[in-house]
């Protein structure tokens, strides 16, 4: 399985975020996306998910454009953005079960509880997520990683709001996924040593300065 990006271009408003961006990602590879605030990392990641339509270029999954096979592609995809994607009024367990079912599998409660335990939410399963702290909310969102069967993980600043122990845990989860043949694309502004697999780095900010074009 491969993700291939060819000559991608994204324009937001009157700013060209990136042009002619091409790369390829294979199994057991991890790609770190780098760039300063506003350089277009989130935009790129959302384009890769098909949430944002690029202005030019192509995104291919196993050689076929993701536009032409969206359900097949989406089955292999797990995206975690700046927003946690959890409902404040549902309990931790309900949220996780809903997210898992949506992704296509109907997991047993045992498995879900185990995932919550691993992610550090033991005994919180019946709390409405509105009553959790910022970092605990993020953990609920991250628990999806533990029960997901998706090949390609796209993670937008996953370490935000996590405490040190949780950052380490998440790193090992990611490393594990890569070791098992998964693919990960992630961004982070924090220094985290990700030691596994073949790390690729892609930097967005060098390509151009950070001003809206009207100011150039």
């Amino acid at each position: 399985m491969t993700l291939e990006v060819k000559n991608l271009q994204c324009i937001r408003g009157d700013r060209e975020l990136f042009t002619d961006l091409s790369f390829q990602l294979e199994e057991s590879q991890l790609m770190m996306l780098e760039g300063q605030n506003g350089s277009g990392k989130t935009t790129l990641l959302r384009s890769l998910c098909g949430l944002y339509l690029q202005d030019q270029g192509e995104i291919l999954w196993n050689g076929i454009s993701i536009k032409k096979q969206d359900e097949d592609y989406r089955r292999e995809l797990l995206y975690l953005g700046h927003l946690n994607g959890i409902k404040a009024d549902l309990t931790v367990l309900e949220n996780l079960r809903f997210n898992a079912t949506l992704a296509g599998k109907i997991p047993s409660t045992d498995k879900l509880m185990q995932a919550l335990d691993t992610i550090g939410l033991y005994a919180f399963e019946d709390f409405p997520t509105s009553q959790l702290s910022q970092g605990q909310k993020r953990r609920v969102a991250l628990a999806r990683l533990l029960i997901s069967k998706a090949k390609l993980w796209i993670l937008d600043e996953p370490f935000v709001a996590l405490d040190i122990a949780a950052v380490e845990l998440l790193q090992s989860i990611i490393a594990n996924h890569v070791d098992n043949g998964g693919m990960v694309i992630l961004t982070t502004h924090q220094e985290v040593p990700l030691t596994s697999g073949k790390i690729k780095r892609l930097s967005l900010s060098e390509e151009q300065d950070n001003l809206p074009s009207s100011a150039k």
Partner: protein, 223 residues
């Protein structure tokens, strides 16, 4: 595919009915709206009978509109909507589940409480039956049209005007024929069948087009 439909329907109902008391909240809300009119308009028997059709439909419109926010806005703000569009399921099916949940929570209670309206407004019993029937046919259309509007206005700036200008008038035919049928049922010798046919036609149209249109609108809004 069906599992996503059911799980989403269940989730939306669960969210709304987190506590049992919320079902009662909706029912009492209708009761209040219904009892405001006699206070404002006066309580002569003839007047009450005349305004009854309008009143129930306004209660329906209000409930449907008040809850539109819940349909997508919350999901948009907390990021669940983007997760929905990324799920390996057809978005129209999921949207349809959300519409049904919306109707179950805002339309159905109104159908159920219609007999009480009959009591309060001294309506004959066959009119109460007709009222329940047209509400059953018409309120789903309100939910479905509302969903299109809600999806289009999601996170929109300024442009929303145009949308509400386009969509809100679409409510009017439903309201007019819905209220018309109830009025007709109180007049000796008038057939309500044409009204019912029209309402069914609206429902059919809405069923065919709205899930698709709403899904398209959502994709546009999320970009």
């Amino acid at each position: 595919m069906m599992s996503a439909f059911w799980v989403l329907l269940k989730r939306d109902l669960l969210l709304a009915l987190r506590r049992r008391s919320e079902i009662f909240t909706v029912l009492f809300f209708f009761l209040i709206v219904i009892s405001l009119f006699p206070l404002g308009v006066g309580s002569e028997d003839a007047t009450l009978k005349k305004i009854a059709p309008g009143v129930v439909w306004i209660a329906a419109l209000l409930a449907s509109t008040l809850a539109l926010d819940r349909l997508f806005a919350n999901d948009y703000l907390d990021g669940t909507l983007e997760q929905l569009t990324l799920a390996p399921q057809s978005l129209s099916v999921m949207v349809f589940a959300k519409m049904i949940a919306h109707w179950l929570l805002t339309g159905l209670p109104l159908v159920l409480i219609a007999p009480l309206v009959g009591l309060f407004y001294h309506l004959p019993s066959n009119t109460i039956g007709v009222m329940m029937l047209v509400l059953l046919l018409g309120t789903p259309v309100l939910s479905m049209i509302g969903a299109i509007a809600a999806a289009l206005t999601l996170g929109l700036r300024g442009g929303g005007v145009l949308v509400s200008l386009l969509v809100l008038p679409l409510y009017i035919p439903v309201l007019v024929y819905g209220a018309g049928a109830i009025s007709a049922s109180m007049v000796e010798g008038l057939s309500i069948q044409p009204y019912l046919l029209l309402l069914s036609a609206f429902m059919l149209l809405a069923l065919i087009f709205s899930p698709w249109a709403t899904a398209a609108a959502l994709k546009i809004s999320l970009e």
